[in-house]
């Protein structure tokens, strides 16, 4: 049952990515490239993606999930919530975020849209996802060679 729900959540999530325009690298570039403000070609619409997602996520978390966590109640289809335990704002977080931002700004594809776009069978996207998996593997090895837990967020 929880695997079926994971599938359904994936479909909702991916459909949202496509409808919002976040799965279109061209649109992402036109959002991130603020120099387009000067030419009037800047596309601010993607601000509404995160706003919309947070408008659903944040209040539901605060009003429903957080009280259940504090009350030691699990989610409906599992025994416990699997939430990241890390709190520290450390070097791996900052370095990783810089590298991710750099890659994202270069071509306008982040992990979710990368996987959704595999459905379009274009060689470019397969190359991108292959490189992304390679990078993730390298990051995992780095994490393992220095003693930091991996499986967060």
């Amino acid at each position: 049952m929880n695997k079926l729900m994971a599938l359904l959540c994936g479909i909702l999530f991916g459909t949202g990515l496509m409808l919002s325009g976040l799965a279109d690298p061209d649109k992402v570039i036109h959002f991130l490239n603020l120099s387009l403000l000067l030419t009037g070609e800047w596309d601010p619409s993607l601000m509404f993606v995160m706003s919309g997602a947070l408008a659903v996520y944040l209040p539901t978390y605060l009003l429903v999930v957080k009280p259940r966590v504090l009350d030691n109640q699990g989610p409906l289809l599992d025994k416990q919530y699997h939430l990241p335990a890390k709190r520290a704002i450390d070097a791996p977080l900052l370095i990783g975020s810089v590298l991710f931002g750099l890659g994202w700004g270069m071509v306008g594809i982040c992990p979710g849209p990368g996987i959704v776009n595999l459905a379009y069978f274009e060689p470019d996207i397969f190359l991108f996802v292959f490189a992304m998996v390679l990078g993730a593997y390298v990051g995992r090895q780095i994490h393992r060679s220095i003693p930091i837990a991996v499986n967060n967020a």
């Binding site: 991916g14 279109d24 919309g52 939430l83 975020s97």
Partner: protein, 145 residues
Amino acid sequence: MFSSFAPALFGGLLVGLGAILLLLLNGRIAGISGILSGALWSSGESDSKGLAWQWYFLAGLLLSGLLMGGPLEALFGVKPMDMSTLEIPTPLLLISGVLVGLGCSLGSGCTSGHGICGIGRLSPRSIVATLVFMFVGVLAAIVFH
């Protein structure tokens, strides 16, 4: 330009719905980079009989691409994606892919894990991470485009 605000907002609501349902029902964070590495190198939680749940979520993402692209374009006139307009040189594409994968792995999350689920839990780590990758993303987009 304003015509693209409604699909962006509505799409965002759907993304948020998918993410919060995964948390409400399964107790899981909808961070795509984390889910991908969990699927590939299942992160120590060996309760799985058969495929890990992460593969089902990823299959859902793929299914949305396969099934919904056409209808979304027909109904809302949105262009789900068009790699062909980008004309990115292959080396740049590969470098960016490695950076995205490496960065998310070191930084424990991406746009979804930090930007939605993390900020959605008011996690200071995720708020900082999101500010950093948005800022660098803007710089990179200006430099490369």
